[in-house]
Assembly symmetry: D2
């Protein structure tokens, strides 16, 4: 079982990323549950704006998409900017629309069906819940199930202030609680779906929708 | 297995509710899958504003809350007003915060753990996705897992215009498709969780969070 | 010149309202600028759910609406619940849609044209900016102009924690800065509009829209 | 007097942009009011992710920022993707945070004070109001005043469908009405502020905030 993190910081390596430090804290918990982890720092890739799975020459999104298809658990992790997820988090949400074009020939299920997803958000202040709601909605439409309590966040008081690392977010009990709930529930639901997968035949339902609507 | 709908129209019975007509369409699909349904029209109850499970004298929320505890599948259905869910949908989201105070003595899991939830939104225009994102986030924090594609919506073109009934939303293929996906996936995940429930011990994790944070 | 605050706390008088304390801080600043203030605690009124200016028997919204029509400056002040404005704040936003039905016979301008509006949000944690964005958008559609930096907020760190009064929000420099900017800019724009009002003839533009669209 | 549009389509020139067609409709109205217009198609520029006014080598944001500083009226125009503004619209909102670092030495006012701003949103379906609310909030914090009814939008019915050009959005009466209101009110408020500018001394208020908070 594998958990993939998409770090949506605006900063390229090797700049320090608070979101990366927050992810590191989550990775420790996954490891205790014997789940392998991998993190992609999206800013280090050349990703084109768009809505398909491949936007052509030099577009490195297909590399990341393949990683998404090879994990059971996906976590989108983003800093807060302007009270919402980062522009990079929005950009990859748009690219993930391509997944919905890749339904299985037989049953129409997207390659992400029976995977689980969650969200992590960190920032110096206000905006985590709006970011989480947007991320979870997008991933839910794009084929993922969302386990109960599938998010974790750290934000400080209103106004400019310390971010996750400097604020010692790794010692903030509420944030650690959300992380523990998130990781344990993600692994639990991923296991439930491994044993008892959702087998909805979307192709059949598409036909039925057509009939109901004529 | 039972599915409960909370109709968050602003209008009391017996006024015509477009949201009620939309729910009726969903109920048909649940019945085909042998799932019983019940609908609560929240506006017909006397619900106090607040954040607890019981706001005292004359508050009828406890009646609704008991219905929530007795279903396996919960759908919050709301009309769009001001580009978002209705004030009644927001009011019950606030009341549902009380659920998080009622964790099991032994393992801390809220009474809603291992239930699944979804959202239905209808309106004459724009606002469905914002409403869905808010509803799903709230239900996810309040103990529900969200099956893949757990929402359905109908909205018309920008500006004043026909609502679900008059617009014949029940013949709008896209909306019916979202309904069919939603209902089938909700039933599928509810069954998966019946056989393979999430057994996270939140009390243990609370203790662990405390240790990690000292 | 008069500034009206609508306090959207969920709690009725005489319960302590953090939002009321936050408003008191804003009132002091208005008074320094010789602007009279009045605060309506919406929870103390019997307001019906709906979208018109008068929802009939026992509905006390008309009383509040008249106060809105008699001020030059309107501030919607709300606590954060579920990462967004309160259900009461949403309820009054829906009621204010009635304003758009009351355009002047000659020029179609709503009674709120040339008034200015702003938002104040307080909470123990995350959600201020989402609430502000929703409030300002609604008021802008309902006839108000929004002066630069027309909002103020206080929220604490992620998780349960102290609210405005206990956290001494009245000593939080960032929050006070936003309050000062808000009040001074609201008064400035209200004065600009008194001298140089917006005189757009909406009736003419309605006719023009019709012509452009045929 | 000059109005600047930032077209936040994801597509580079010369691909057809529905947002560009929508902007063209707005430009006609500005011209009738003798206001010059210019449109920047952001996707054609090399803009770095970040939060400052200059992100170094090859970053073309300073070119756009200069245009912003040289207009009286700014309109951010975006397509809807995932029920919200585009990633490019979010990216430039983040870059515009740099404006808040450039307060006047004497009075602290950002270079955008006394400019007015608005939002235009087009899409095949749902998401306009969420996008507008986010855009107007950001611009309001970044120094712009928002005239009454300062937005216009076109979206179609729920589900995949025609966008602005193919749907003949230029003949959709509601959309044209919002455009006319927006343009006329923007010009009116820009003129009011030219004659009666907001003169708030932010530096003084910063000092006062410090005193109030000690």
């Amino acid at each position: 079982m594998k958990a993939l993190f998409l770090n949506c910081t605006l900063k390229k390596s090797p700049e320090t990323s608070n979101t990366q430090a927050f992810i590191a804290q989550a990775e420790k918990i996954f490891k205790e549950l014997d789940v392998a982890t991998e993190t992609v720092r999206v800013a280090d890739y050349n990703i084109a704006f768009g809505n398909s799975s491949d936007e052509g020459e030099n577009d490195e999104w297909p590399t990341i998409l393949e990683k998404i298809y090879n994990c059971e658990i996906l976590i989108v992790a983003t800093p807060v900017w302007r009270g919402d997820r980062s522009a990079i988090a929005k950009m990859i949400a748009e690219r993930m629309d391509g997944i919905m074009e890749e339904g299985n020939d037989e049953n129409g299920r997207f390659p992400t069906y029976n995977k689980v997803a969650g969200a992590m958000v960190d920032g110096n202040e206000d905006g985590a819940k709006r970011a989480i709601a947007a991320i979870l909605f997008d991933l839910n439409e794009q084929g993922f199930s969302i386990p109960v309590n599938a998010f974790a966040y750290y934000v400080g008081k209103a106004g400019p202030g310390k971010s996750y690392i400097e604020a010692e977010g790794d010692k903030h009990e509420f944030t650690n609680k959300t992380l523990l709930y998130m990781v344990h529930n993600m692994v639990a639901l991923a296991k439930s779906l491994e044993k008892e997968p959702i087998k909805t035949n979307l192709k059949k339902l598409d036909k039925k929708a057509e009939e109901m609507s004529s």
